[in-house]
């Protein structure tokens, strides 16, 4: 039997996104938004029926986020959102996600190790969970089919585990009321006529606290006796191995239990411990965009220890919401590469083909096409490149080590650059104005020539340099006007990458991203940034910083090939960027920043697997940057705010200077660096660039004073929190002026 766990829900061509944004701008009515949503829901349901899926998820749709839906259904909306009696419920719902004037939106954070963001439930002292069916007035569902459909919900244990308690509130204090509310929700769903209910508890794939375990036992042990006899609860886990939580799962009689055996193959070991009547197995990836490997998948399935189960459901490892809609829409990707790809629509077809094949073993044309694609992919010289392989196998420890330790390098760098104490710089990008975007769009449309485009960009660079010189910054950047995106820009210039036209994946709410596809060995055909940086350096006497994106970030924000370990792909990218680092150095750029914005989000869900990841993630950074002279200064930037648990690894990256996001925490984050006695130079951000506010010189002086207490003076840099691409020029100029004056004032105080 085939099943699915969820579909992408923004529509074939992001129809829901556009309709929702129009609704927010009051260009369409709620009725029209609901009509668009109905089309999206009907379409994804029809695709699954047509594909022949036996048990189809419904209510996998959401107008914004399914955790937010659950907050509404369980009466868990934060107190600061006083309900406006007259308003339409969907408006209230969007207020929670987007804030309203001075009322801050609910916080958003990454959904496990994906690039999707959910809204974080808030448990307050006043929280009083109770089922509320108001949201169901806007619930859009296909016509009821009891046999074929399962109603999907995120489970209460995951919900509470992901919630945050307000100050001094023990979030677990609400668990009894939450259980009651959730049970009422389930009864309501029974009342709608559904017999199959999918409860998703992805938290079971991570390390559970004792309180989470306790809540799981209490909730699920009482569950079945409180529901109708014909209600079937399908427990779904994904994103990891349920090891350590298997006793919990087995203590309740579920209709079926779903295990993700793709994310972590060793989850197969847990199959024999599952005591439910049926089992559901995630046997194709819900996270990548590759056609399944037919032979390997069949072999894998037939060897699974599933003889004790009445029914075996074959499903994707996770919900398919993390995939684009369909390859049918792609016109620019060549046929061969396209035949290797499967997006959501193609994946559900694969599931149904697998289920049918396993019951009657007859090969049809569709299967033959998949097998052919498997073969061309395995033998293609677009995928495997001998010179890349050779270079990989020839790597030695030396390639990962700078010539000398940091203290020696620091001396060489101080001598060479002679920066003032507390050197000032920025993180790299400057405002991407409308003119810049327009020039890029015009180049794509062919309305201006490459030459015209380049001279326009050069003018922008010269202007950007002039502004930085006037502001008297110490280390300048060229401003990155020529870059569309920090990953896409490099992907487009590297071989082994492909770009889709409609490969959109929801990141949060109506925001979607279009990750590049890494299909083959990565190589750098020619220098990618050298001419821009060189041009910039020629236009100033000050030091110009070269700007690159790090290998882990490029990897994390792409769809990565599945025919070799992620680690290997990351090493290949590292080698390509390493060549760029070297070329920049040769071209006279002697401060080079390699950003690793996504370093932390690559951490596996399970703590036990962290070390393995951190080892190669750190290594790839070292491989990228170790090729330079002692006197060349390597910078890195990290825009996240939890360092305690990875500080050792950040130190191991051995960048000469790192800049971090710090202003929002009021320099609290530096404690981790102080406690660890972080050896290299640090630039804690003194301007929260996520807000359009211009901080005063005094405020920045205060932050610098604080930073001085945690970081040795000779190691301290002054810079904003992040790149300035999304800010406007006036606030950028103002704030940097304040930042530089504040720095100068502190310098004066120090010298007197």
């Amino acid at each position: 039997m085939s099943t699915n766990l969820g579909m992408p829900r923004v529509g074939r061509k992001r129809e829901l996104k556009f309709a929702t944004e129009k609704y927010w701008r009051q260009e369409i009515t709620a009725s029209e938004l609901l009509a668009t949503a109905t089309d999206v829901v009907d379409d994804i349901y029809k695709q699954q029926v047509n594909a022949g899926i036996d048990l189809i998820p419904v209510n996998d749709f959401s107008f914004y986020d399914r955790v937010l839906d659950l907050c509404c259904l369980l009466g868990m909306t934060p107190k600061r959102f006083q309900k406006n009696v007259q308003s339409f419920y969907l408006d209230e719902y969007f207020r929670l996600a987007r804030g309203d004037g001075d009322i801050a939106a609910m916080e958003m954070t990454k959904w496990f190790d994906t690039n999707y963001h959910y809204l974080v439930p808030e448990v307050e002292a006043t929280s009083n969970p109770a089922f509320s069916n108001q949201l169901f007035a806007q619930q859009i569902l296909p016509e009821l089919d009891t046999e074929k459909q399962k109603f999907c919900l995120i489970g209460p244990v995951t919900f509470l585990a992901l919630a945050k308690g307000a100050d001094a509130v023990d979030k677990y204090a609400i668990q009894n009321k939450l259980s009651k509310a959730y049970l009422d929700l389930l009864k309501h769903i029974e009342g709608l006529g559904y017999e199959n209910i999918q409860i998703e508890e992805p938290i079971l794939g991570s390390d559970l606290s004792l309180k989470d375990k306790g809540f799981f036992s209490t909730f699920y042990s009482e569950l079945t006796e409180n529901l109708k006899a014909n209600t079937k609860i399908h427990l779904v886990t994904y994103f990891g191995n349920v090891e350590g939580n298997i006793d919990l799962i087995s203590s309740t009689s579920f209709e079926s239990v779903h295990l993700d055996i793709i994310t972590d193959e060793s989850n197969i070991e847990n199959i024999k411990s599952i005591t439910s009547k049926n089992i559901s197995l995630g046997i194709i990836s819900g996270r990548n965009i590759w056609r399944l490997n037919w032979e390997k998948t069949i072999e894998g399935i037939v060897s699974l220890p599933v003889e004790n189960f009445e029914t075996v459901y074959l499903g994707p490892s996770t919900s398919l919401q993390h995939l684009p809609y369909s390859i049918e829409l792609e016109k620019k990707i060549d046929d061969e590469l396209l035949s290797w790809l499967a997006f959501a629509k193609e994946k559900i077809k694969e599931l149904s083909l697998l289920a049918n094949y396993l019951s009657n073993e007859s090969l049809n044309d569709e299967i033959k096409i998949i097998k052919e694609a498997n073969q061309t992919r395995q033998s293609s010289n677009r995928v495997t490149k001998a010179d890349v392989r050779e270079r990989m196998s020839g790597l030695t420890d030396k390639d990962f080590e700078r010539n000398n330790v940091f203290s020696i390098r620091q001396d060489a760098q101080k001598k060479k650059f002679n920066f003032p104490i507390l050197p000032t710089t920025t993180i790299g990008s400057f405002p991407q104005t409308t003119d810049i975007r327009k020039a890029r769009a015009n180049l794509t449309k062919g309305e201006i020539s490459q030459q015209e485009y380049e001279s326009f960009m050069q003018e922008s660079i010269v202007e950007c340099i002039k502004i930085q010189e006037d502001l008297d910054l110490d280390v300048l950047v060229h401003g990155e006007p020529e870059r569309n995106d920090m990953v896409q820009y490099f992907g487009e210039l590297l071989s082994g990458f492909a770009f889709t036209s409609f490969g959109w994946v929801q990141s949060y709410g109506t925001r979607c991203v279009k990750p590049p596809i890494i299909y083959g060995d990565v190589e750098r055909p020619e220098a990618m940034t050298v001419k821009w940086s060189q041009f910039a350096q020629q236009n100033t006497k000050k030091v110009m910083k070269g700007m690159l994106t790090g290998p882990v970030t490029i990897l994390q924000w792409s769809f990565v090939r599945d025919d070799q370990p992620r680690k290997d792909t990351c090493y290949q990218i590292a080698l390509a960027i390493r060549d760029e680092v070297k070329d920049l150095e040769d071209a006279g750029i002697h401060v080079i920043q390699v950003d690793e914005a996504a370093f932390r989000e690559g951490l596996p869900v399970r703590r036990a697997q962290w070390n393995e990841y951190l080892k190669w993630a750190v290594d790839t950074f070292r491989l990228t940057t170790a090729c330079v002279e002692d006197s060349t200064q390597i910078h890195s930037h990290m825009c996240y705010s939890e360092f305690n648990d990875v500080i050792e690894d950040i130190a191991a990256m051995d960048a000469d200077v790192i800049s971090i996001e710090c202003s929002r925490s009021n320099m609290e984050l530096l404690k981790a660096f102080k406690d660890f006695d972080y050896p290299n130079e640090i630039g804690p951000g003194v301007w929260d660039i996520h807000s359009p506010r211009v901080p005063s010189q005094g405020e920045i002086e205060n932050l610098i004073e604080k930073a001085k207490n945690s970081v040795k003076l000779e190691n301290l840099w002054i810079n904003p929190d992040c790149g300035l691409k999304t800010r406007g020029w006036p606030e950028v100029k103002n704030t940097i002026e304040h930042m530089v004056s504040a720095t100068k004032k502190v310098r004066e105080q120090l010298s007197s």
């Binding site: 009515t29 709620a30 009725s31 029209e32 609901l34 009509a35 109905t38 089309d39 007259q86």
Partner: protein, 292 residues
């Protein structure tokens, strides 16, 4: 005083008969006409047929009623296409009656009338809506109806035609509330010239409104007496409403001309004594002055 007439497509499709009645009423110079619009495909064509026929007999705007109940947005789009071809400029947007008075939006349909109004407005129509001196039978009360009216006006409706109502002080409440809530709409009372009390009662029952004894007892069953009574009733009503500052009246002609004709003729004769034309706001100010 500005007047307008409402007609409906007759079951026998004798549109000529309707236009004959209209022609008798033309001399009073209506500011617009409206044609009701039933549910379902066949009556849609009937309404458009009558609309076309009336358009051929007049230069004034012929508005069409349009209900949203039972129609998806796609259905509405199809109708809008036809209305555009017929050069219809004004739509009277109404939710319409639903079975058991329980409104359930159809799949991909409008979930409320104000969304429907906004949609029509965006499609270039001038939009007229309904207003209720007495709460609508499905409504949660007067205040609730008023909020709906406000929503419809904020969505773009410029005129509101009222349900017929013989309990005149109820109009005071409506006019006063509209002024107080600053709802920017031209209120047009609907006038129902009906000679038979039986018909009045039947229609009142259908619309969920009450008819007081003081009204019923004016009818004795003798046709000529009843015609006179009906005429007086309407004239009294119009005078009362004019004193409230209202100056637009929509006649539910029921496809007949006689009674409406005699009412309007009487008014026309009296119009020499031109009354003061008040609007809702100045009326409100006047009231406050009197009170103080």
């Amino acid at each position: 005083m500005r007047i307008s007439y409402e007609f409906f497509p007759p079951a026998d499709l004798d549109f000529k008969r309707v236009t004959r009645h209209f022609n008798k009423l033309r001399s009073f110079k209506p500011s617009f006409l409206s044609v009701t619009f039933g549910a379902g495909g066949s009556s849609e064509n009937k309404s458009l047929g009558l609309l076309k026929e009336l358009q051929a007999h007049t230069d004034v705007d012929v508005a069409t009623h349009l209900t949203l109940v039972g129609k998806s947005i796609d259905d509405i789009d199809a109708i809008i296409q036809k209305l555009k071809i017929l050069n219809v400029k004004t739509v009277v947007a109404i939710r319409g009656d639903s079975p058991n008075n329980l409104f359930v939006p159809v799949k991909k349909g409008f979930i409320n009338t104000s969304d429907f109004v906004a949609y029509l407005k965006r499609n270039g129509f001038e939009v007229c809506v309904s207003a209720y001196p007495e709460p609508h039978p499905e409504s949660e009360g007067f205040e609730f109806d008023l909020q709906l009216l406000q929503n419809k006006v904020e969505a773009g409706a410029s005129r509101a035609i009222t349900q017929f109502c013989f309990d005149l002080p109820k109009f005071d409440r409506l006019v006063e509330s509209i002024a107080k809530k600053n709802i920017n709409v031209k209120l047009i009372p609907g006038i129902m010239p009906v000679t038979s009390i039986k018909n009045i009662l039947r229609m009142a029952d259908r619309c969920g409104i009450g008819i007081s004894k003081s009204v019923t007892k004016r009818f004795n069953g003798n046709l000529s007496d009843d015609v006179k009574a009906a005429k007086e009733l309407c004239l009294e009503q119009i005078e009362y409403l004019q004193n409230l500052g209202l100056d637009d009246f929509h006649f539910y002609t029921l496809n007949r001309s006689d009674l409406t004709y005699s009412i309007l003729k009487e008014i026309k004769a009296n119009e020499i004594h031109e009354h003061k034309s008040w609007n809702a706001k100045s009326w409100q100010e006047e009231r406050i002055k009197i009170r103080n």
